[in-house]
Amino acid sequence: MEHANIPIAVLEAVLVFLILYKIFSARRGRQLYIRRIPGLNAIDEAIGRATEMGRPIMFSPGIRPLDLPTLQALSILRHVTKIAAKYGTRVIVPTCDSVVYTIAEEISKDAYNSEGRPEQFNPDDIRYLSDDQFAYASGCVGILTREKVASSLMFGAFFAEALILAETGHNVGAMQVAGTPSTTQIPFFITSCDYTIIGDEFYAASAYLSREPTLLGSLVGQDYAKAVLIIVVLLGIVIASIPWLNHHYPSLLTLFSKT
């Protein structure tokens, strides 16, 4: 397992402090501004399209077990299900992990209840397909084609199956919105989907959609943390590029080394 050295521990402490400081200042009622993210606005558009066409939405929370990207995907699922419940549109959620399946089912049930439509919740719409990556992909392909989904939302961590899902969605004419922290799959989603949420925009989704102060504060804290990282990178570039500094202060460079 990796362990922190002193510079990493200090940097981590600074980043944690900034994020927590902004969260608590937002909770005290400070107004915060976040920029518009077109991909997240498109989620409402995708739900509207499915409602107009009278066809279901497919929401895939990725193929990882319950980890951070999947948790983020599940918080987006809640938002999607709440709006879909309001309009009476079905949301089919195929899952690749049994733990994620149980939580997704509870979230969906809760979302229908909170919108006052508990009778609309159909347990068959939350499906556990398989733990196997490609068995899951073929299950999703089956749902996309058989159910004639109007919109396909893919949020979470994806691997090689990303292109199979996105290209099939494109072929069946579904409006597709994808968001993933998996950097290797971003090009595939950009190519095949109508909107793609990349990088840290993925983690901004729940704040953007809910406008909840804790999440907004966290988002602003993330921006401050990124600014700190940029300063650290620039410092590293300067120190590594000036021979005089390296010669007289060799310990400076060790601040940026792994050990």
């Binding site: 397992m1 990796e2 362990h3 922190a4 521990a9 981590e12 980043l15 944690v16 994020i19 969260i23 951070l68 990207p69 599940l74 918080s75 899952t95 049994s98 733990v99 399946y101 149980t102 939580i103 089912e105 509870e106 809760d110 979302a111 209840n113 347990p123 068959d124 939350i126 499906r127 556990y128 196997d132 990556q133 490609f134 068995a135 992909a137 073929s138 089956g142 058989r146 090689a160 199956e161 292109l163 199979i164 290209e167 922290p181 950097t183 595939f188 950009i190 190519t191 095949s192 840290d200 993925f202 983690y203 809910s210 909840e212 804790t214 999440l215 966290s218 993330q222 943390a225 990124k226």
Partner: protein
């Protein structure tokens, strides 16, 4: 834990399986009952305490320095083995629910003869065939048992998986065709970069610029070096930029989850 009290070493394997299942039911039932006994106003606090405690193990393990000459600190073994085992046990509980969901959905398809019911029948046949041959190969030493399981696994699990994986090659072509259409300045730039990278990765690309010197200034314009430069410099810079954002986002989310600040994101009702 209790299994070793119930079953003596050397007992038949089916007894071990039954004892483990019994363990699960007894311990799981007791845990569930205890949780239901906790008044609802304390349940949130209980969940927050357990979450914080579990997260603390990994945080402390990461920050406490490793003694010289050792692979980990005093918590490494506990975090890697014991906590991982606990997570595995919890996941196993949920696996049963997942299988139940799968069988319930396809069972309804079968009993109501919905369109595509034959697919559901295939699932049932495959599920029980794999389950029974799996147990058979586990409990019997007969070569037929292992062979049957192997044939079923290779023929009905591995082969379709490989087929699905190979389909990606065709999807890449159709996706690339759409991506490389010249619609804007950015798309043109991407097309040019992709063309150079593809050409630099095949022998004909190297052949085209083989007349340029191997060292010195002009060697930078050899196709394989241009390819390497695109991948290692502009591509890597963009990739790292995205990764920084992703990791900071993950850190923020981990903090919110660890400190139970994120509860409203998942459920409306109280626990």
């Amino acid at each position: 834990m209790f299994t070793q009290w119930l079953v003596k070493p050397g007992a038949p394997q089916y007894l071990w399986v039954l004892a483990v299942l019994g363990d699960f039911l007894i311990l799981g039932g007791a845990l569930f009952f205890l949780l239901r006994m906790v008044p609802s106003r304390f349940r949130k606090t209980l969940v927050a305490i357990v979450t914080f405690g579990a997260g603390l193990i990994y945080s402390v393990e990461f920050f406490v320095p490793v003694p010289a000459g050792k692979d980990g600190n005093f918590l490494t073994n506990f975090a890697q083995k014991t906590v991982t085992d606990v997570v595995l046990v919890l996941s196993t509980f949920a696996l049963g629910l997942g299988i139940y969901s799968l069988l319930r959905f396809h069972g309804r398809n079968l009993t109501r003869m919905r369109p595509g019911w034959h697919n559901s029948l295939a699932l049932y046949v495959a599920f029980f065939a794999m389950l029974l041959t799996g147990f058979w190969s586990m409990m019997s030493k007969a070569p037929a048992a292992a062979n049957t399981f192997d044939v079923l696994f290779r023929g009905t699990v591995a082969a379709p998986g490989a087929t699905m994986f190979s389909i990606i090659a065709f999807y890449i072509v159709s996706a690339a065709y759409r991506a490389f259409r010249i619609r804007s300045a950015e798309a043109t730039l991407m097309l040019a970069a992709a063309f150079v990278v593809m050409l630099g990765s095949v022998p004909i690309g190297e052949y085209l610029t083989s007349g340029l010197p191997v060292t010195g200034f002009w060697s930078n314009f050899r196709m394989e070096n241009v390819n390497l430069w695109i991948l290692k410099e502009p591509n890597m810079a963009a990739w790292r930029g995205i990764s920084f954002g992703v990791e900071i986002g993950a850190l923020a989310m981990a903090l919110r989850t660890w400190l139970s600040l994120e509860r409203g994101s998942f459920f409306e009702r109280e626990l």
